[in-house]
């Protein structure tokens, strides 16, 4: 829980990060437009947005690498513009691009950043051990970084941001290109950090990570903060649910009590409790049932929330996996599975082809992105 009093004695807790009305332009392009964001001590905020949405710009502004054109950024009450060094002492940045010294050993990389943070001798050694252990780097300390795998290098890169025990950690796509084990380890460590009071701003494209982190969500779109809240809140407010039917030709006109939209060969029925509506939808098909290829129940999830908020629909043919429950036309009468509604979604489905080649969640999200 936040404990620091606000400067000036107003009594409220000082947030680990306070971003107020921040704008940043690159020439004619507005990278960020009046963005507000607050992160409390011990809170994890998952920063979501498609490529070019402004996530890295926001991280760079908070880290003091660039200056905002307008607005204020405070890290534990220290302005990144007026007191940049005090602000930087409070934060640890692991940028999106891997930043390590390949010719040196893991220990030398870590020691350098420990020394830059003012740690020497025994205390530096202790912190190196402390940062290495949870990221499974202890056995690699004397290995040259250039000889490590990509995932191992990513862990070194992350550890370098944590050596001085920062109270605000900025992790910009920390799991990009890493394997499942490394991802799980990083997520577990981030949760551990937050439990110890560290505030974490975690940018990612991989929505299941946000759920695994138990993070609050902030969604950036074209430089604007368009949503902020818990996964559950966002799913309740913005989650799409319904029934999606794919036909071999043009979808038929159905008479249903719910809104229906057509998109190429796909017919969407927007309904709050789709598993209860399945029977009625099937009955309305009549003779058109013969043209039905696939029928899916779409449960609300962070996945669908993101696509709804950013106005990007999943392309037809990209199967939504966690977010949907799917049934073949033949077996659709059993499509009554219930999702959690909390965003994680559930259920498994099969495509008519039965190829089982559903892409991983992150690829599905990426497929709906532009820029």
């Amino acid at each position: 829980m936040p404990t620091d009093p606000r400067p000036g004695g107003t009594g409220g807790p000082v947030p680990a990060l306070a971003v107020r009305g921040v704008s940043k332009r690159y020439g004619a392009t507005a990278a960020l437009d009046h963005v507000d964001l607050e992160i409390a001590e011990g809170e994890i905020v998952g920063l979501l947005g498609h490529n070019g949405a402004g996530k890295t710009t926001l991280m760079s502004l908070v880290a003091g690498l660039i200056r905002p054109d307008a607005g204020e950024i405070d890290v534990h009450g220290h302005s990144t513009v007026r007191a940049p060094r005090r602000a930087r002492r409070e934060l640890g940045l692991a940028p999106q691009e891997l930043g390590v010294y390949p010719p040196l050993t893991v220990r030398q990389n870590l020691r350098f950043f420990a020394e830059l943070a003012g740690l020497r001798g025994r205390s530096a050694r202790a912190r190196i051990e402390e940062a290495a252990e949870p990221l499974a780097l202890t056995a690699l300390l004397d290995r040259r970084v250039s000889r490590l795998s990509g995932g191992e290098q990513r862990r070194v890169h992350t550890a370098m941001a944590l050596l001085h025990r920062p109270r605000l950690v900025l992790l910009d796509e920390p799991t990009a290109g890493v394997d499942v084990q490394t991802r799980a380890r990083l997520i577990a460590y981030v949760r551990e950090l937050a439990a110890g009071g560290t505030a974490v701003c975690y940018s990612t494209h991989y929505l299941p990570e946000i759920e695994a982190l138990g993070a609050e969500v902030a969604v950036l779109d074209d430089g604007r903060m368009i949503a902020r809240g818990s996964v559950g809140e966002l799913v309740r407010r913005h989650g799409d649910s319904g029934v999606e039917l794919v036909f071999s030709g043009s979808p038929p006109a159905l008479s249903l009590p719910w809104p229906v939209t057509r998109e190429d060969e796909v017919l969407h029925v927007r309904v709050e409790r789709p598993h209860l509506a399945m029977a009625e939808v099937l009955a309305a098909l009549g003779e058109s049932a013969g043209q039905l290829v696939t029928m899916r129940v779409v449960q609300p999830s962070l996945d669908s929330v993101f696509l709804h908020l950013t106005g990007r629909r999943r392309p037809t043919g990209a199967h939504p996996g966690d977010a949907v429950r799917e049934a073949t036309a033949a077996g659709c009468s059993d499509g009554s599975g219930s999702g959690s509604g909390s965003g994680s979604g559930s259920g498994s489905g099969t495509t008519p082809a039965g190829d089982g080649t559903e892409p991983p969640a992150e690829d599905r999200i990426e497929a709906g992105h532009h820029g």
Partner: protein, 260 residues
């Protein structure tokens, strides 16, 4: 620069030493090459010096300082590379996000190249004496009084180019051209008295001219520290001017292209 700045600069210097120790080959090559070339150029320099009224010259009096000065300016590439590789490894922004100030990041980067340049000069002069019979008729301290500002000048040329260039290719090309122009105009390739007419008026505009003038005053004319104060002072002025250029044009947030 309080609040831990010396500790951070020490950390940065140690890091540069670690990186140098990991890959000393470029430095070794740049130290050995002038010694190799001296072997070939010695008879030519002997003839030039004897024609220039130094009857007992063995050629090393021109070859050693000349090649030392010329190859010292090739170190500019190493100075630049040390900065550009931080961008190539994506560590520059990490350094900027650390408690270190930009001026600390720059100041620390002077130390290892400066020591390297001084050591390179000492090795070339030492090897010149052992292998090629270089005789210094003046004061060894005077050699150092010229050598140290010269080394500083070389490092500052590198820093100025880092500030001005956006890619390592630009820096490399300009550094190589400068090294050759400085060597030619400064009298590192021929005795200053043998420079062509058009080059004479331009020569004082390059730091190598003052370095060669200082070294010649010690080696050939038997000069002491007082004899090299002017060249050393001019070299310091060059270094200060280049430092001003660096501070005026260096932008910590400029993205450098390291492998272009």
């Amino acid at each position: 620069m309080g609040d831990g700045a010396p500790g951070r600069i020490t950390a940065l210097v140690r890091q540069d030493f670690r990186l140098l120790a990991r890959d000393p080959a470029p430095l070794v090559v740049r130290t050995v090459m002038p010694l190799l070339i001296m072997g070939f150029m010695l008879p030519l320099f002997r003839a030039a010096l004897r024609a220039d009224d130094v009857p007992d010259a063995n050629g090393a009096e021109q070859a050693v300082p000349g090649m030392a000065v010329m190859f010292l300016f090739f170190l500019v590439n190493i100075v630049g590379f040390a900065m550009f590789r931080e961008h190539g490894w994506n560590t520059w922004d990490r350094l900027r996000a650390s408690p270190a100030r930009s001026v600390e990041l720059l100041a620390a980067r002077l130390v290892v190249p400066l020591l390297t340049a001084v050591v390179q000069l000492a090795v070339i002069f030492g090897a010149g004496a052992l292998l090629f019979g270089l005789r210094v008729s003046g004061s060894y301290a005077a050699l150092a009084v010229v050598g140290v500002p010269l080394a500083l000048c070389v490092v500052m040329v590198g820093m100025a180019l880092v500030a001005l260039c956006r890619t390592i290719s630009q820096l490399s090309v300009i550094a190589n051209i400068l090294a050759l122009v400085f060597a030619g105009l400064g009298g590192a390739l021929t005795p200053q008295s043998a420079l062509p007419d058009w080059a004479g008026p331009l020569a004082p505009g390059v730091p190598s001219y003052w370095a060669m003038r200082g070294f010649s005053a010690v080696i050939l004319d038997g000069g002491g520290v007082s004899a090299v104060l002017l060249p050393a002072g001019v070299l310091c002025a060059f270094a200060a001017g280049l430092g001003a250029v660096t501070l005026a044009f260096f932008r910590a947030d400029q993205r450098k292209l390291s492998w272009s």
